[in-house]
């Protein structure tokens, strides 16, 4: 595919740049958490039970007494401060003392020098349990006689978000057609390729403890560790090792692992490392929320939406984690990017004994988008419109009101632009018409095969090649940028120009592999007119930079980019002031910073090298270091009614998927995905394209293959032989396109992309499959079971597969 050229007046922004961390990553020199070694380090190995829900009667460690491999057994009794933690509700114990609520729970940690020996010894701990009934169905969690997972809270309800707009009952009465539909989405694992790892090192001097690990949000980890140890924030230092993928997944789990390592390190006064194997990573870490999504929609003959009643139920699993934030995004985005007068939404998230769920790329949007975008296609069929026409008719325009009553102004609402572009570049309409004609037809098949179910009768023989059908589908979304009314939204960035004109840069946000360091370096390089390789991005360390909140919600470019730009512009102002004096100018408005020089536009012969100017600035005693700050504007939300300005700005995206389905065998191949995103100004083009390729691929995995199934709360797919994520062979071609909508926030209007890319893909693929097969599938993933049996084969026992 021809590379898309972004037209702009920038020198570095929007042009390909080599990653800040690229060299160390291609040479194997980059240090990930497990690549750090410390003298005298010990290892921690977890002790779990086999239960999903049980009271702990007694734990007997006597067989480990005097064992030469064990330096310490760490339990809840060793915790000086908070015994339970959590971002919203403190419901998750560092070590369980009296109760087990999910199979990932840990009761103690063995510490010693030899991991292999320690792992064997875990078998010798005798845990006396009184098993409790297991609640594994979120639909039963709110029944009166349901067992309570955390009895202190007196309910299994974690959060309920209502949203009321207009009057749905009246709306339903006034419309021509009504559709009611239920959709479900599955539990999935982040599947970062690097499992969790952290080392805690006893501190020196005033520093009590230093932690280096695969940590997504170092400031959150610091807060948790400090509260567990009972220390001040400035007594705990968190250093982020190179992170081997996160996607939202190395937050809560890593905070708890860091706390466990820290407790042991301080008790034994030696470095303690915890490194998870894949199986325990999958068993203990949190996942994406499964949802049950009930929609009732009323519309007119022409397809205009009139009323929508939405009831979403999310399974939060055993701990609340980020559930309240995740599901809040769902309530904002549940209606999709469509104008509807009457909306009545309820989103609930509940406790069960299942693996707990929290932040994962997309964060509460892929689930409702799968539902609403499937529904829009169903509406289109009812009113004989194309998927394009139905969205064009109802989609948000400049100044539209969202379900929460927010008027979309202050930024360019590019929904129709992205939709039109996606439809054009994919030749959507003509393909859609062609594919629909052949859809689901089984010419050449035996009569017995042509029935409702795709599954074959016992003696049927088919030639699978007779049953290839093509399909094309689209999905459209709007997405609130950054945290929104979820939290305080501000970020810092430190910039310091050295006497030779090279630059140090560090922001309070964290590099999770997404390329943030490179993006921020590009911003600084653009402003100073220097090449990005003159910039060194510093190690992420909580002692060196202000707390900038978590690196989540696709907020790094918007918030950290804004902070970096502010810092650089402040320093540039000082340099301009100096040059105005040196060159005796009236003002600095004609000075251009470009190609390592500063040039006077009106008189091109007047120029000075960047490094030379810096030298002079140092000689004059000018301060060339600063911390830039960027705070988002105020937003608000009324909890009772769901009214408010949820986010201060939005991005828009449209994806079209083209698939080939074997309607005889249920196999699906993804041929093409066209992705058109308005992420605002594109700063790091290679990184942006990478976000699209990667996000879509994860989205395709969500649509077709990925699923963690639980049985009584226990996980079956605990390694990559059973939890299948996309490989290099699963998707043929991805075509990214960027529309740069006008935006006043961030660095030149650079907004969010990481999550928008993922949230649409499953919905687009589902719609494409529907065209190919002539059947609509309501449950993710649309794997072979779903396709042929229209139900999921839940495991009868956990012993299937090779690794458990």
């Amino acid at each position: 595919m021809k590379k898309q050229q972004l037209h702009n007046n920038f020198n570095v922004v929007g042009k390909p740049a080599i990653r800040q961390d690229g060299y160390s990553k291609v040479t194997g020199k980059a240090k990930y958490a497990d690549d750090y070694r410390f003298d005298g380090e010990l290892y921690g190995v977890m002790i779990r039970t086999k239960a999903s829900h049980a009271l702990i009667k007694k734990i007997d460690y006597s067989e480990l007494n005097e064992n030469r491999f064990i330096k310490a057994i760490i339990t809840a009794d060793d915790i000086p401060g908070s015994k339970k933690v959590g971002p919203i509700k403190q419901d998750q114990p560092i070590f369980c003392a009296d109760k087990i609520v999910t199979p990932g729970d840990v009761v103690a940690m063995l510490v010693g020098e030899d991991v292999k020996e320690l792992r064997k010894l875990t078998e010798l701990v005798k845990i006396d349990l009184e098993e409790l009934p297991v609640l594994d169905d979120p639909q039963k969690a709110l029944e009166n006689d349901s067992i309570l997972i955390h009895p202190d809270f007196k309910t299994n309800l974690i959060t309920h978000y209502p949203l009321r707009k207009g009057n749905v009952e009246k709306g339903f009465k006034q419309c021509d057609e009504i559709i009611e539909q239920t959709y479900t989405t599955q539990l999935i694992e982040h599947a970062y390729i690097e499992p969790e790892c952290v080392t805690a090192i006893p501190g020196e001097g005033n520093l009590k403890v230093k932690i280096i690990g695969s940590i997504q949000n170092p400031f959150t980890t610091r807060k948790v560790v400090a509260s567990v140890l009972g220390y001040g924030l400035n007594e705990v230092e968190i250093i982020q090792a190179e992170l081997g993928g996160s996607f939202g997944g190395k937050d809560d789990t890593m905070n708890i692992l860091s706390a466990r390592a820290a407790i042991a390190a301080l008790k034994l006064n030696r470095p303690v490392k915890i490194k998870y194997e894949r199986e325990e990573s999958i068993i203990e870490s949190y996942k994406r929320h499964p949802y049950i999504l009930k929609y009732k929609v009323g519309f007119n003959k022409d397809g205009k939406l009139k009323a929508m009643k939405i009831d979403l139920l999310a399974d939060g699993g055993a701990y609340s984690s980020m559930s309240s934030f995740v599901t809040w995004r769902s309530v904002v985005q549940a209606t999709g990017p469509y104008e509807i007068k009457n909306v009545h939404t309820d989103v609930r998230v509940v406790y069960t004994n299942n693996p707990y769920t929290g932040a994962m790329r997309g964060f509460g949007s892929p689930q409702p988008i799968f539902a609403i975008e499937s529904l829009m296609d169903e509406i289109a069929v009812k009113v004989s419109k194309t998927p394009f026409e139905i969205r064009k008719l109802n989609g948000f325009k400049q100044g539209s009101l969202t379900a929460s009553g927010q008027k979309l102004t202050g930024h360019e609402v590019t929904l129709h632009k992205v939709l039109k572009k996606a439809v054009e570049v994919s030749s959507f309409d003509s393909k859609w018409n062609d594919y629909k004609k052949a859809s689901g037809k089984k010419e050449g098949a035996k009569q017995s095969y042509i029935n409702d179910s795709l599954i074959l009768n016992k003696n049927d023989f088919i030639n699978p090649d007779q049953f290839w059908r093509k399909g094309i589908g689209l999905a459209l979304s709007y997405r609130g940028c950054s945290l929104g009314a979820e939290g305080i939204d501000a970020a810092a960035s430190y910039v310091s120009i050295q006497p030779d004109g090279t630059v140090y840069l560090l922001s309070g946000l964290a590099e999770n592999g997404q390329g943030m360091k490179t993006t921020f370096s590009i911003i600084a390089a653009e402003i100073f007119g220097i090449s990005p390789d003159k910039i060194v991005y510093l190690e992420q360390n909580t002692s060196r930079i202000p707390d900038s909140g978590p690196t989540v919600a696709s907020r790094a470019t918007l918030m950290g980019g804004g902070a970096t730009k502010n810092a650089c512009e402040e320093l540039k102002k000082r340099l301009i002031k100096l040059l105005v004096t040196i060159w005796k100018l009236k003002s600095g408005k004609d000075l251009v910073f470009v190609n390592n020089e500063i040039i006077l536009r009106s008189k091109k012969s007047k120029r000075i090298e960047f490094g030379e100017l810096i030298k002079q600035a140092y000689q004059q005693g000018i301060n060339l270091a600063t911390v830039g700050w960027y705070a988002g504007p105020k937003v608000h939300w009324e909890e009772e009614t769901g009214h408010g300005s949820a986010y201060f700005t939005y991005v828009y995206g449209c994806q079209v998927a083209e698939v080939t389905v074997n309607i005889g065998t249920g196999e699906v191949y993804v041929n093409n995905i066209w992705a058109v995103h308005d992420a605002g100004k594109v700063i790091n083009i290679l990184g942006a394209e990478g976000q699209v390729y990667g996000g879509l691929t994860q989205g395709a995995g969500y649509a077709l293959w990925e699923k963690i199934s639980t049985h009584n709360g226990k996980i079956r797919e605990n390694n990559f032989d059973q939890f299948l994520i996309p490989t290099s062979k699963d998707i043929d071609a991805i075509h990214p396109y960027f529309i740069e909508g006008k935006e006043k926030y961030g660095a030149w209007g650079g907004k969010s992309l990481g999550e928008p890319t993922l949230e649409l893909t499953a919905a687009a693929i589902a719609n494409a499959i529907c065209i190919a097969t002539g059947q609509r599938f309501y449950n993710l993933p649309i794997n072979i079971e779903e396709m042929l049996l229209r139900r999921k084969l839940y495991p009868e026992s956990l012993t299937r597969g090779s690794t458990s």
Partner: protein, 156 residues
Amino acid sequence: MKINFTLNSQNVSIEIEPNLRLLDLLRDRFNLTGTKEGCSIGECGACTVIMNSKAVNSCLILAGQCNGAEIITIEGMESDGKLHPLQENFLKSGAIQCGFCTPGMIMSAYALLIEKKNPTDEEIKEAIAGNLCRCTGYKQIIDAVSQSAKEIKINT
């Protein structure tokens, strides 16, 4: 037991326990931490190294099997301070995000280029099909390998 083998063009000899994995030999004894561990069961490819010109999962190979073998790891790809074309092109194509899969990817691609001078995109996809990457969606990796094949051909 004692084994002798070639590691990144150097002859080495070391005393090992018979149950030691090649992965641990590299990471723990030789401090070559560029080779990563992602699954320990031969599914993710993060631990891929070259053994006698073939890509292998070092988590599934016993160190003892390496006696007399020639092993190349990611640390052996840069020569005289110059990056291998694969490394160069991974950088230029944006084929890296978190980078955890990168060493294994490069080694699988290297094994392919030893075997085939002109790999098609399909052959490249096949060669790295055992290397999971959760970040990149593979596209820029495939571009990087394909570009490297072209450059190596011109230069040899």
